[in-house]
Every structure is written in C-alpha cells, then in structure tokens.
C-alpha cells in the first residue's frame, strides 16, 4: 500500500470515529516507514481539521466529535512514543482544566480534554466542583500554559470570577480561558479571564492557537 493511501485511510478512520481502524492504520503507517511528523500532520491533524469543518457546517454534532476524538486518541497513543524522540514534550504545552466550584457538569470539559489529548497536549484534569484554591495549588505545582475553567450553569459565572481573582492574586500568570455555553464577551470581561469559548471545538482552537504562538520560534 502506498504512503498516501495509508495516510488517507488513517484520516478517514478518524473522521468516521472508528477507533480500531485508526489504531490499525497508524501502526501500518509506522511499519511502512512513513515519517512520524507526516503521520501526525497528514493523518491526524488533517482529520481534526476535517472534523472541525463538518462540525461548523452542522453535519457533525457533539456525538460525532466525541467518537472522532476517541479515534484520534487511539491513533495518538500509538504514535506518541515515536514522537517523543523527536519533540521536546514541553513544546506541546500543558493545560490545567476543571469545572468550577458548584458545577458538576463534565460533558463540555471532557470533550475539550479528549480533543486536546488527541492533539498531543498534556492535560491535567481536576474534575468537577473544583474550589478556587485547588486551581491555585495545582497551578503552582505544574505551571500550566493555559488554565481552563469550565461551567454550564448560569450561576457558575460568579465562581469563575472568584477563581480568576484568586489565581491572579497568587500571581499565576497562565493564560485563563473560560468555557461554557453560558458565556459572552461581556461575561468574560466581568470574570476577568483572557478569553472564552462557547463550545469544545472553539476551546480547542483557542488553546491551540495560544500555545502555538507562545512557542513559535522557541
């Protein structure tokens, strides 16, 4: 099988959300001696872009995003050990994420985590109902590039603001991105976060864009 064909199959298996096929085509690509960065870019990242386009065109919805992200992770699990030899892991960035205190909703947060992990980012998940102090303590320990505060409840805006205030008071200089369907530009300004995303896909792009620009040329 030609390299192009293997990579096309890998990409399509991710777009269709077929975990087993994604893992199989990644193994085949490695065995065929295809350059690891080419497998990542032409197979996995291209698939992510296609899934994003389908989501924006409303041909894909949350369930399709999730299973595509699962397939992405299956492929990355196989490719990652090979990439480690080439990249310094730190360049890929670390994200600390959690649903703010009082909010038990995990769906949006888990989607973003799956998407980020599928792109090779290191994600530390604090879970749901996370008090501000927990974000502060963990941020001091791991120095994340981005802190993601998630929330679905209309009432979570207050807790997001408290969390941002405590993080800033403790001189945590990570970029803070808040995520949730409840958010708006005005709410983001009131909360004092650096940026906001109203769905998992937008969250992925904002975090990715920030980390890529941060490490550009490093």
């Amino acid at each position: 099988m030609q390299s192009d064909e293997i990579l096309t199959n890998l990409k399509e298996s991710i777009v269709k959300g077929n975990k087993e096929a994604a893992a199989e085509h990644t193994t085949r690509a490695i065995e065929a001696g295809i350059d690891f960065t080419l497998i990542l870019e032409a197979g996995i990242i291209r698939a992510t872009e296609e899934v994003g386009k389908l989501y924006e065109q409303m041909e894909y919805y949350l369930p399709d995003l999730l299973i595509a992200a699962d397939a992405m992770i299956a492929a990355m699990d196989i490719l990652k050990p090979h990439l480690k030899a080439i990249f310094d892991e730190k360049l890929k960035g670390t994200i600390l994420i959690g649903a703010v205190e009082g909010d038990m909703h995990s769906i949006g947060k888990n989607l973003v985590i799956t998407l980020l992990e599928g792109q090779g980012f290191e994600v530390v998940d604090l879970g749901t109902d996370v008090p501000p102090i927990k974000f502060v303590e963990k941020a001091k320990e791991i120095h994340p590039d981005v802190i993601g505060l998630s929330g679905l409840l209309t009432t979570s805006i207050t807790t997001m603001r408290d969390t941002v205030l405590q993080l800033r008071e403790e001189n945590i200089d990570s970029k803070i991105i808040i995520g949730g369907g409840i958010l708006s530009k005005e709410a983001c300004e009131m909360i004092g976060a650096d940026d906001y995303a109203t769905d998992g896909w937008a969250g992925l792009y904002k975090i990715k864009e920030f980390i890529e620009s941060k490490y550009k040329g490093v």
């Binding site: 919805y61 399709d64 995990s106 209309t154 009432t155 805006i157 369907g181």
Partner: protein, 364 residues
C-alpha cells in the same frame, strides 16, 4: 417569615392563564422568573439546609422571594427533573456518593456515576417517588403554594436532563456506538417520570403545568433527528399519558424551538436564544398559539453586566415586539444567579409597569 399580603396572587394567576389562552382580558404582561435556591436563600436569608427543613419554610420562602421580585409565578426550585431526579435514582440504586449538597446553591449529581456501565443501565431500578424525602417535601410545599396563592405549580418532567445526570458524557458516545442501550436508559427515565407525575397527582391533588427541560433540543448538543429519537418521542408519550399542557424550556445557545414546535404541541416556550429579536417575531407569526416566555432576556447579559436602564431597554424591546395580541411573558432565562444585581431584577417589573399594560401598541 410571612408572605407579603399586598401581592395580589389572584390577579397574577389570571394574568398567567390569560397569557396562555391569548385572552383579551389580560391587564398586563406577566413576569415569570426562575428564582431558585441561590436567589431564594439570598432574599430570605437562610441556607439550603433550612430551606429544605420543612415544607412550610420552603413554600413560604419561595412565595416571599417571588413577591419581593414582583413575579407572577411561584416555581419551586426542586420541581424540575434534573439533579433532584438524579438524587432519587442515586438513593434507589445505592449511589449516594454521586450526590453533592451545597449551602447556598442547588443540589447536584456527579454526572455519569450512577450509570457508568451498560450493566448499570440494565440493572437500574426506577425510584419510588412516594419514598423520596426530597420529592415528598416538594409535593407538600407545592400543595401549600397552591393553597396560599392559587397557583397550581409547574412540575418539571424531563428525559435528557436526567439521562445526562445518570450517564454523563458516555450518553453522547452511546448515540453512535450503542443507541439501543441509550434507548433502554431513556425508557427507564420515562417510567420514572410517569411515577413522579402519578405521585404528584396523589400528593398535591391538582394537575400541574409541565415545565419540560428539553435539553436535547439544542444544536450544540445533537442533531434534531437525534433529539427527537432520544427525547421527542418520549415527550409525545408523556403528553399522551398525562394529558396536561407542556411548556418547553431550553436555556442553551442554539435551540430548535421552531423545529420542535412543528413536531410537538407546546403551549409555551421558555428560552433566551437566539438573541435576535427577529427570530422571535417570526416565531410568533408562525406559531401564534404558542406563548413566548422570555425571548432575548438572558440572565448573563444585560441582567448580570448591565445597568437597570439596559435591562429596561431589553424588556421594552421584547414587550413592544412580542406582547401585542397577547401570548407573551417577560422571563429572564435561566435560573437567576445570586450575583445579578437586585436593582437589575427589579428593573424588569418596573419596565413591565411602564410598557406592558394592555393594550400595547406594536413596535413601528
């Protein structure tokens, strides 16, 4: 703690009923708000533990908070089938570790704990609502609210809102990988909702309005076809089996209001998106018998970050465009968070008094 006797609940109830029937006898636009645990405990000055310590305290505190905010409706916080149904499932299925109580905010369920595996779904026991402490408290409080105000309460039935509590993010994977197991869960939640409704009738003695949290009906969650499959078909059955009017609530960003109202009969829709008033003008034209509750008054915009003048302008815009001819209620969506400035909430009733007295001239 005694309710404000100056509030004319009889006039409020009439307003509420006239809005749904489109009656010309309506005097002004009604105000419907979701003043829940955060707002009630703030206004009355008690914790959730005290609020839920007796039906009398619960009913009186809810009435008092709504009278303070000048609303026309008392909706008890625990009436809706989300976390409170999750509590009933957690207790029945020995998963109490999933329940989280808070001092000044709503009870919550750690999503995806109760039905973590397919086997959990197969073995899931349906709660007996006559044995649920929290639901019994709600039934008794609902009865007291009815006796004191004449308002028959809105009871929240829901399928997807409960499925999400029980199954978490896995529910979305199930849609593509194992729809049958997801439908089994939906079926069990449906049975539970019918048990809840029957118990409501037995305990409260009067049929409530059904305030249906139709969370599936949102583009950010799923396609309309999936929403009909995993929620819509069950709403039709609930409507048939209960025979009572349903109001659809969806507080998401991109709801399928027009699509769902073409398929299922609702007497009202309660939402705050899309934020374009023209969507709602068009909705009113296409669904003249459906009462709009809300439209573009979002708790996280003018109410939270604006001034009383901003709120007044937003309410004015909604009233002048949607209230002429009736079948409109002012309603900020969704639950009022505790940090919404009170002057902003009170600006709603002031704006209604200023612009919402019938007859109302249409916006030019």
């Amino acid at each position: 703690m005694s309710p404000d006797i100056s509030h004319n609940w009889k006039a409020s109830i009439n307003r509420f009923m006239y809005a749904f029937s489109g009656s010309k006898r309506i005097d002004r636009v009604p105000f419907f708000a979701l003043a829940m645990e955060q707002m009630i405990t703030r206004i009355v000055g008690i914790s959730v533990r005290t609020l839920f310590s007796s039906p009398k305290i619960y009913a009186n505190a809810a009435i008092m908070a709504n009278e303070y905010l000048h609303t026309d409706v008392v909706a008890l916080p625990t009436c809706y089938a989300g976390p409170v149904e999750g509590v009933a499932f957690a207790e029945t299925n020995d998963r109490k570790q999933a329940i989280k109580w808070f001092d000044y905010r709503a009870i919550f369920i750690d999503q995806g704990i109760i039905c973590k595996t397919d086997e959990d779904i197969e073995k899931l026991k349906i709660p007996d609502h006559s044995q649920s402490k929290l639901w019994n408290l709600t039934f008794d409080a609902a009865k007291m609210v009815y006796e004191k105000t004449g308002f028959p309460q809105v009871a929240g039935l829901g399928i997807w809102s409960v499925v999400q509590q029980l199954r978490g993010v896995q529910a979305f994977r199930d849609m593509r990988e194992n729809p049958e197991i997801l439908l089994t869960l939906c079926e069990k939640v449906y049975e539970s909702q019918m048990d809840l409704y029957r118990n409501w009738l037995d305990h409260v003695g009067i049929s409530p309005f059904i305030f249906y949290p139709g969370y599936a009906f949102n583009r950010t969650m799923m396609s309309f076809q999936d929403a009909m499959k995993f929620e819509g078909q069950f709403i039709r059955r609930l409507q048939k089996d209960t025979g009572v009017p349903f109001l659809l609530h969806n507080c998401g960003m991109d709801p399928y209001f027009k699509e769902v109202c073409s398929e299922i009969d609702f007497v009202g829709v309660n939402g705050s998106h899309p934020l374009d008033i023209n969507y709602w003008i068009d909705f009113k034209k296409n669904f003249p018998k459906v009462t709009i509750m809300g439209a573009t008054i979002d708790v996280n915009r003018e109410l939270l970050t604006g001034t009383p003048e901003d709120v007044e302008n937003k309410v004015k815009e909604n009233i002048l465009n949607l209230a002429p001819g009736g079948r409109y209620m002012v309603s900020p969506i969704c639950e009022l968070p505790w940090n919404v400035p009170l002057p902003n909430i009170l600006a709603i009733s002031n704006a209604i008094e200023k612009y919402g007295i019938y007859p109302i001239q249409e916006a030019p």
